[in-house]
């Protein structure tokens, strides 16, 4: 039973499985000195999505500081963070939280961690797929690919149809002429 429980910030810290290099790794990847965080929790109070995430922003920082690699990389917070910068603006230590979340997402993907929100990763891939094809995002194509993969063709059918009828979703993508220039920026 207890093994399924999420690590809480109030739990005693067990040092056995901690990755003590994790904080240095995320510092390097994000360019942010995470050790500056003094856990005032301003970010936690400001986060607009705290009700949906498993950890508030400063808990993520704490997990990284202490080396809870698995907990941080498998958290839903790193995917639900949209980078609105509300927390960074409130942070008295000027920690770039959005950059930390980016670094954690990239690390989670790189090492194949069990992702809490695989749909969000798929969405990002769908967006990048249309940028690679056309040089610009093509929202209809993004939505179709995303929904088809989830086998969820009906949840937004009504609003999608309305947007299509109002020509807010375009059938044809807007295209960049020098598309090779855009494509060369993508890794093969």
């Amino acid at each position: 039973m207890e093994t399924n429980q999420q690590t809480s910030i109030t739990d005693p810290i067990k040092t056995k499985d901690l990755d003590l290099n994790f904080v240095a790794e995320i510092k390097q990847q994000s360019g942010v000195n995470i050790s500056r965080c003094l856990h005032c929790r301003c970010c936690a109070g400001g986060c607009h999505f705290h009700m949906a995430t498993d950890y508030p922003p400063n808990h993520i920082i704490r997990l990284v500081q202490l080396g809870f690699r698995k907990e941080a990389l498998e958290s839903s917070t790193i995917w639900l963070c949209v980078g609105c910068n509300t927390c960074s603006v409130q942070c008295p230590m000027a920690i770039d939280m959005a950059a930390v979340m980016d670094a954690l997402r990239q690390t989670a993907i790189k090492e194949g961690a069990a992702l809490a929100e695989p749909d969000i990763l798929n969405f990002h891939k769908d967006v990048l797929h249309t940028i690679k094809r056309h040089g610009r995002t093509h929202k209809l194509e993004i939505m179709m690919r995303y929904k088809a993969r989830k086998l969820d063709l009906f949840s937004d059918f009504v609003v999608g149809t309305k947007m299509f009828a109002k020509r807010k979703l375009h059938f044809r993508p807007s295209k960049v002429k020098a598309i090779d220039e855009v494509r060369k920026t993508f890794k093969p």
């Binding site: 607009h48 610009r136 109002k166 960049v176 002429k177």
Partner: protein
């Protein structure tokens, strides 16, 4: 009222204004033309990378944003309307200015010079610099009786590296109030709309959008006014509360107040129709 455009600036519309928010694009071009500014679209611009590139691959995000900087002609500002595009382009520029390795990567990838003094600005900067009183002095009662709340979403917030950039909190309030509108105080002016979570986690976004709409209604607003195309879409598609409060792009209402009659293609694009209220206020036919 109409002035011949006297100033030319470069313009990066971005994917949203090019597709889901064409009414924002049209009304922005209309508004700035009225204020004597001509927007010259960046030739063959590409996506800034949006939220997805920086989430998955920082180098891709840097390269995608830079392609647009490499296309910007020197000597005139690059104007951006989408707050997210603005951040992406400004962040890339910040790295170019402060990181030697980033500069080398830019040169190797693009081989085109970038204007080191390129000013990447939100269109608010143009409004803030203009002597708006000369445009609005004959129109001080134009928006009389219009009650609105101003919704910034997260557009005022920036990462620490860009925190010394100018902030425009109050600009929309000041302009609309000077045209006679009643700008109401409310709680949700800077509540983030959730951007792409609207697609991936509508269960999270619907309660937030409902809260915003209810907040506007409780404040007594006829309209929510926003300057972000993404916020506009989320406030139209995700709330489930009835009746809805329509959301207008700031460029639409400002242009209407300045007397445009070229709005047919704007309001037909809205999913929550603002026309009945605009008509009752005499702002459209």
């Amino acid at each position: 009222m109409n002035m011949k455009p006297t100033i030319e600036v470069s313009y990066f519309p971005g994917c949203s204004l090019d597709s889901t928010a064409t009414e924002n694009n049209l009304s922005l071009i209309n508004l700035l033309n009225r204020l004597g500014i001509n927007l010259v679209e960046l030739d063959d611009w590409s996506c800034c990378g949006s939220s997805s590139a920086h989430s998955l691959d920082p180098e891709l995000a840097f390269d995608l944003a830079n392609r647009n900087l490499s296309l910007a002609p020197a000597g005139r500002p690059l104007i951006v309307a989408c707050p997210n595009c603005l951040l992406r382009l400004r962040e890339a520029q910040y790295h170019l200015e402060n990181d030697e390795k980033a500069r080398i990567r830019y040169e190797e990838t693009w081989g085109r010079p970038v204007d080191p003094k390129l000013q990447i600005q939100h269109y608010f900067e143009l409004l803030d610099r203009k002597d708006l009183l000369s445009f609005t002095k004959d129109l001080v009662e134009k928006l009389n009786g219009l009650k609105c709340v101003i919704y910034y979403g997260c557009m005022l917030w920036r990462p620490p590296s860009l925190r010394h950039d100018k902030n425009y909190y109050g600009l929309m309030e000041k302009i609309l109030a000077s045209l006679g509108a009643t700008v109401l105080p409310w709680t949700f002016a800077t509540q983030c709309c959730g951007t792409f979570l609207s697609v991936t986690r509508p269960d999270v976004i619907t309660p937030i959008a409902n809260k915003i709409i209810r907040g506007a209604k409780d404040a007594g607003a006829d309209f929510i006014i926003t300057a972000c195309a993404m916020c506009h879409m989320n406030l139209e598609i995700r709330p489930t509360v009835k009746p809805m409060v329509p959301t207008l792009h700031f460029t639409e209402i400002f242009s209407l107040a300045l007397g445009t009659d070229d709005y047919q293609e704007w309001f037909s694009k809205h999913l929550v129709d603002p026309s009945p209220v605009l008509r009752s206020k005499g702002l459209i036919q």
